[in-house]
């Protein structure tokens, strides 16, 4: 299916907005304005491609902590993200209880995620089971890194989805590092997709830096899931261009040359090239978008700085649902 120019520009915009927001978060951290950042730079193409293949607000998502571009595509605003970065009141993910980027957005069925990895995949299979019980035609997207596929939680989640042919698509964002550990120390198989054959579902490995190609793969996988034909495992190959988090120093485990080499395959630059080659947009138009993104983010940062912190005693609630109703 050929994408319209409008949709292609929209996808590029989401990648761009997420990228500039992520970059600003690093700056805010260096300025001492935020305590922590965990980044998705280099992973935007896979996230935006998958998000655009979803029916937003209808389908379900159990994301992970590098999914800023996915969440922006689903409707998380820069202002909302900045609130979470700064631990300010009104953060929609957690009311500023969780560390930043542990996303949740109830209005688009994006479920809260914790820090122990692959826990969210099991929830995705449970949501998939509920969808099957209710006979709706929704699907679930769950995302994780390649390191998370070492967890028992992941195997159990995939096993459930395969046994019951649940409408779940597993997006493994293989960014080549689990903090410092490379794939060859995580798995003996050459690709995460190879794990699928032992679990009884289709597994494919795709170029995770090509947003438009990713979109097509996910459209197909979601269609398969939606029509009752079961789950798919999709490994999207990419490269984590930043350290693991603001507390990491990646110079201790990889060379600058390696990182620089991968910057040539930056998915944002690749998408930009495609838009220009296909005459979907001009240089000037794309530069205008860049300016617009930076303005929006500056406005969001100003908004965040003005926003109040939660009251300390809000930490008391809500432990039980009764407190949500009455508190």
């Amino acid at each position: 299916m050929d994408l319209s120019s409008e949709v292609m520009r929209e996808m590029y915009w989401m990648m761009l907005l997420a990228r500039r927001l992520d970059e600003r978060a690093w700056v805010l951290h260096r300025q001492g304005k935020i305590a922590f950042h965990i980044s998705g730079i280099g992973q935007e193409a896979a996230q935006v491609g998958a998000a655009f293949a979803l029916r937003k607000g209808e389908d379900w998502v159990t994301p992970y902590y590098r999914d800023l571009a996915l969440m922006i595509s689903l409707g998380l605003t820069p202002k909302e993200y900045v609130l979470s970065l700064m631990g300010k009141a009104g953060d929609p993910s957690s009311g500023a209880r969780q560390t930043p980027s542990h996303f949740s957005l109830r209005r688009v069925n994006a479920v809260s995620q914790s820090a122990p990895v692959a826990t969210q995949c099991v929830h995705a299979s449970g949501i998939g089971l509920a969808i099957k019980m209710k006979k709706t035609n929704q699907v679930v997207l769950t995302t994780l890194g390649e390191g998370s596929t070492s967890q028992g939680e992941w195997y159990e989640a995939v096993n459930w989805a395969a046994i019951h042919q649940l409408p779940v698509v597993f997006l493994v964002q293989n960014n080549q590092y689990a903090i410092s550990v490379p794939p060859e120390m995580q798995m003996a198989v050459k690709s995460v997709a190879d794990k699928a054959c032992g679990l009884g579902l289709p597994g494919i490995s795709i170029d995770g830096t090509d947003v438009f190609g990713v979109y097509k793969s996910f459209l197909e996988a979601f269609e398969t899931a939606r029509s009752g034909n079961g789950p798919t495992l999709i490994e999207a190959k990419m490269y984590r261009l930043t350290p693991h988090s603001s507390d990491d120093d990646d110079r201790t485990y990889r060379s600058r040359e390696e990182v620089e080499e991968h910057k040539k395959k930056d998915p944002l630059l690749l998408a930009r090239q495609v838009l220009l080659e296909k005459s979907v947009a001009t240089e000037a138009e794309l530069d205008t978008l860049d300016k617009k993104a930076k303005e929006m983010i500056t406005e969001a940062v100003n908004f965040g700085e003005q926003a109040p912190y939660p009251k300390a005693e809000e930490g008391m609630h809500p432990v039980y649902f009764e407190e949500v109703q009455h508190g």
Partner: protein, 327 residues
């Protein structure tokens, strides 16, 4: 009113709630065709089918994790852990996910689910079919922990647990499944989660117990009455939230407290009851609070003499109560 065994009352509660609410479903090992290894779900597979009485793969973390996902979607899962001893693979899903989901999403994602687990020894089960696990979970805010000791309460509390909008650990004293019998009304009734129950009134001391130990405590108290020792017995029924008012009211009346549980002593739940009494009723005490619990060994040994050495029973409770009465 029919007299029923504990396990039949548990089955009645599930049957009634599944009949009333199509969002309620059961998931666990051998719960389907087999009707559960303790027959708690007997007949339900035939009545409600394999989509509502789901035989899980032999993998406990996903029994709970899939339940959480379904609950997030809006279902009301009853997750059966075949023996409480096997719950540890699911510890991460219970402690990191179910208990924290509501809090970490600022109330956006409630997890209405029940985790049923047969616990306790004295049945020749050895180390891994005899354990008491309540101490691990009473420490975790966000969970409710319920332990019935009569068929009447078992049904009414389980109906409450299924309807509760929070994750509820429902721990079943398996030695009492068929040993404990009592009147159980047909149809719908509720025993609320929270209140303890004074099952015998007395003047000289109070025994606080739950589950199988409450069954023995009541028998011990009846025997002691013949010796001229007047014992009040409180069935805690709900460990979280705990009924402090009933505990304190009783101990203020009798001035002496014996806290009994089958779980081993150190770090056990009885310490919490002892602490509540020490903090809030110290000046009413005529003797130090006494704890009677399982010995601090890793688990219940298999061979009969060693098992009986481990188990708290009617005689041990009577001895402890006599000593306390004579203090």
């Amino acid at each position: 009113m029919a007299e029923k065994a504990l396990v039949e009352a548990i089955r009645d509660a599930m049957d009634d709630e599944m009949g009333r609410d199509e969002d309620v479903f059961i998931v666990g090992e051998d719960v389907g065709q087999r009707g559960g290894v303790f027959r708690a779900t007997e007949g339900l597979f035939e009545k409600y089918g394999g989509m509502r009485v789901v035989d899980s793969p032999l993998a406990e973390l996903s029994i709970v994790g899939v339940g959480i996902g379904a609950a997030l979607y809006g279902m009301k899962p009853i997750c059966e852990i075949q023996f409480a001893d096997f719950i540890y693979p699911a510890f991460n899903q219970i402690v990191s996910e179910a208990s924290k989901m509501l809090y970490r999403s600022d109330g956006a994602w409630p997890v209405p689910m029940v985790i049923r687990a047969p616990y306790g020894g004295g049945i020749g089960g050895g180390l891994y079919h005899s354990q008491s696990i309540e101490g691990f979970f009473t420490h975790v805010p966000g969970l409710k922990v319920v332990v019935p000791s009569t068929p009447y309460d078992a049904k009414g509390l389980l109906i409450s647990a299924i309807r509760d909008p929070n994750p509820v650990m429902y721990l079943e004293p398996k030695k009492g499944y068929r040993l404990i019998r009592g009147e159980v009304p047909e149809g719908e009734y509720i025993v609320p989660i929270g209140p303890a129950n004074i099952t015998k009134s007395g003047e000289d001391l109070t025994i606080f117990a739950y589950g199988m130990m409450h069954f023995y405590a009541l028998k011990a108290a009846e025997n002691l009455e013949k010796e001229g020792i007047s014992v009040e017995v409180v069935d805690l029924r709900t460990l979280v939230p705990v009924d402090k008012d009933t505990i304190l009211k009783s101990v203020k009346k009798t001035g002496k407290a014996l806290v009994v549980h089958e779980d081993n002593l150190t770090g056990g739940y009885g310490g919490e009851i002892a602490a509540i009494i020490a903090e809030h009723a110290f000046t009413y005490l005529d003797a130090p609070v006494r704890r009677l619990a399982g010995p601090d060994v890793p688990a219940v040994p298999f061979s009969h003499p060693m098992q009986e050495w481990f188990m708290v029973n009617e005689d041990k409770i009577m001895n402890a109560a006599r000593e306390l009465a004579n203090y």
